[in-house]
Structures are given as structure tokens and as C-alpha cells.
């Protein structure tokens, strides 16, 4: 039964990777990254239940804090990029291309 939780976590993680690879809208890419973080969280909580220790819960809290910090910074960057290029297409954001 506990395997189903881990299988669901793998499925959500793979869907997150598919979203990052296949979509070009910067918001969708960003939310796919959040989806991968959530899949990792589910795996942490599942293993924590499996071993009946609460270290996984603490790690999941840290992941949520990192996701909050990432959201604040990434959205600031998105606003700046939209101001400069007036688009949301990740293919246009190629400032670092040599």
C-alpha cells in the first residue's frame, strides 16, 4: 500500500519534467518546477511514515521554505523579463547566448 504513494510521487515528478521540457510559457515552466518539488515532498513524507521517524517532515518543511524563496525571486525575475522583452516565451529569453 505504501508503494502506491511512492509510485504517485514518481508519476508527478515525471509530469513535472515533461512540463519543463515541452512548454515554452515561463509561468508553466515555473509551476512545473514547483510540481517536482511537491513530488519530492510526497516521497519524503512517505519514507518518514515508512520508518516512523519525523526527519522527513522537517525536510519537507525546508523544501517548502526553499519553494517560497524561489517563488519570490523567480517572479521578480519574470516581471523584469516581461518589462524588457514584453513576452513570456522562454525561447526569447536568450540574453546569455554566446
Amino acid at each position: 500500500m505504501i508503494h502506491n504513494y511512492l509510485l504517485l510521487s514518481i508519476l508527478l515528478f515525471c509530469l513535472g519534467i515533461v512540463g519543463v521540457i515541452s512548454r515554452r510559457n515561463v509561468f508553466t515552466v515555473f509551476m512545473s518546477i514547483e510540481l517536482m518539488l511537491n513530488a519530492a515532498n510526497l516521497a519524503f513524507i512517505t519514507f518518514s511514515r515508512m520508518h516512523e521517524s519525523m526527519n522527513g517532515h522537517v525536510l519537507a518543511m525546508m523544501v517548502i521554505a526553499v519553494a517560497a524563496a524561489e517563488a519570490a525571486l523567480a517572479l521578480a525575475v519574470v516581471i523584469l523579463l516581461h518589462k524588457h522583452k514584453s513576452t513570456l516565451d522562454t525561447n526569447v529569453f536568450s540574453l546569455l547566448k554566446g
Binding site: I10, L11, G19, T28, M54, H57, L75
Partner: protein, 169 residues
């Protein structure tokens, strides 16, 4: 059993929300379907007797972070014409699924080799605020402080990036 039925319901909602996030053209629809995923994940945490993380997922993730994202999407006032044209989206999705499939199957094989374990709700206040808090401030004090520094850095970074005035240029 009720817990099995709840798990199936929450799992289907989570996967449906994630698929909707990938397939919807407008990011607003994607964000709304991602909120469904987050809320059903909170239900799964409750089934795994993680009480504090259940509350944190609802308050911090589905509440704070997603409302920030939705606020920014509305702030930029995105019309359907502004969205990138993605004619080859389905092709890319199928291609990336082919790329990701071996990794997923490998992980599934690892999971199958793990020992079975029950998911019944355990007592002893497992996952409660007091227990996790004690663990956080005893064994995980240094990572906790590092996370506080990370939040400070991201706060300063967001102010520097988004709060730039024209006069400073």
C-alpha cells in the same frame, strides 16, 4: 476501507491537476489546476499522519505561494495573444515522455524492491506540531538557521530586482 478510497480519489485529483497544468494554454488555467494538485497532496499528507505538513501545505503552499503566482499572472494582464505560440506542443510532450520514461521505469523498479509497510494512522502524536518542533530545534537547528539566511537573501534579492527605480539607472 475508507483510507484506500480516499487515497485513490486524492491521487486521481493530483494527477489530473498536474496533467491540466501541462496541457492548458493559459497560465491562469494552469495555476488553478495546480492548486487542485496541491490541495489533494495535502490530503495525502494527512493520510500519512503528517499533521503539521498537512496544515503547512494548505496554508503556505496552496495559500501563500500560489496566491503570489496568481497575483503576478493577473498583474501582468496576459491576453491570449501575448502567449507564445506552441504549435508543436503535443510533439514536444510525446518526445519528452519518451525521454523521461526510462528514468521513471528505473525508479518504479527501485520502489518495487522496497519492503512493504502499512499506512495506518499511527498515534503517539506522530507528526504533530510539538514533536516536529522539538526535532527541528534539536537535531536540525543548523539547517533551520541556514534556511532563515536563505529567506533573508531572497527577500533582499526580490527588493533589489523588482523594486528598481528609473532614477537609479
Amino acid at each position: 476501507m475508507i483510507a484506500d478510497g480516499l487515497f485513490i480519489g486524492f491521487a486521481m485529483l493530483a494527477v489530473l491537476g498536474a496533467v491540466g497544468l501541462i496541457l492548458f494554454q493559459h497560465p491562469m488555467n494552469g495555476a488553478m489546476s495546480f492548486v487542485i494538485t496541491l490541495i489533494s497532496l495535502a490530503g495525502l499528507y494527512a493520510l500519512l499522519s503528517a499533521k503539521l505538513i498537512f496544515a503547512l501545505q494548505l496554508i503556505v503552499y496552496a495559500g501563500a505561494i500560489m496566491s503570489l503566482i496568481v497575483f503576478i499572472i493577473m498583474f501582468l494582464n496576459i491576453q491570449p495573444d501575448d502567449l507564445p505560440k506552441e504549435e508543436t506542443k503535443l510533439l514536444y510532450i510525446i518526445g519528452s515522455m519518451i525521454v523521461v520514461l526510462p528514468i521513471g521505469l528505473f525508479l518504479v523498479k527501485i520502489v518495487k524492491s522496497l519492503p512493504m509497510s502499512s499506512t495506518a494512522i499511527i498515534g503517539n502524536n506522530f507528526g504533530g506540531v510539538k514533536e516536529v518542533g522539538l526535532l527541528l530545534f534539536k537535531d536540525w537547528l543548523v539547517p533551520f538557521e541556514i534556511v532563515s539566511i536563505l529567506l533573508l537573501v531572497s527577500l533582499i534579492g526580490a527588493v533589489v530586482l523588482a523594486g528598481k527605480r528609473e532614477a537609479n539607472k
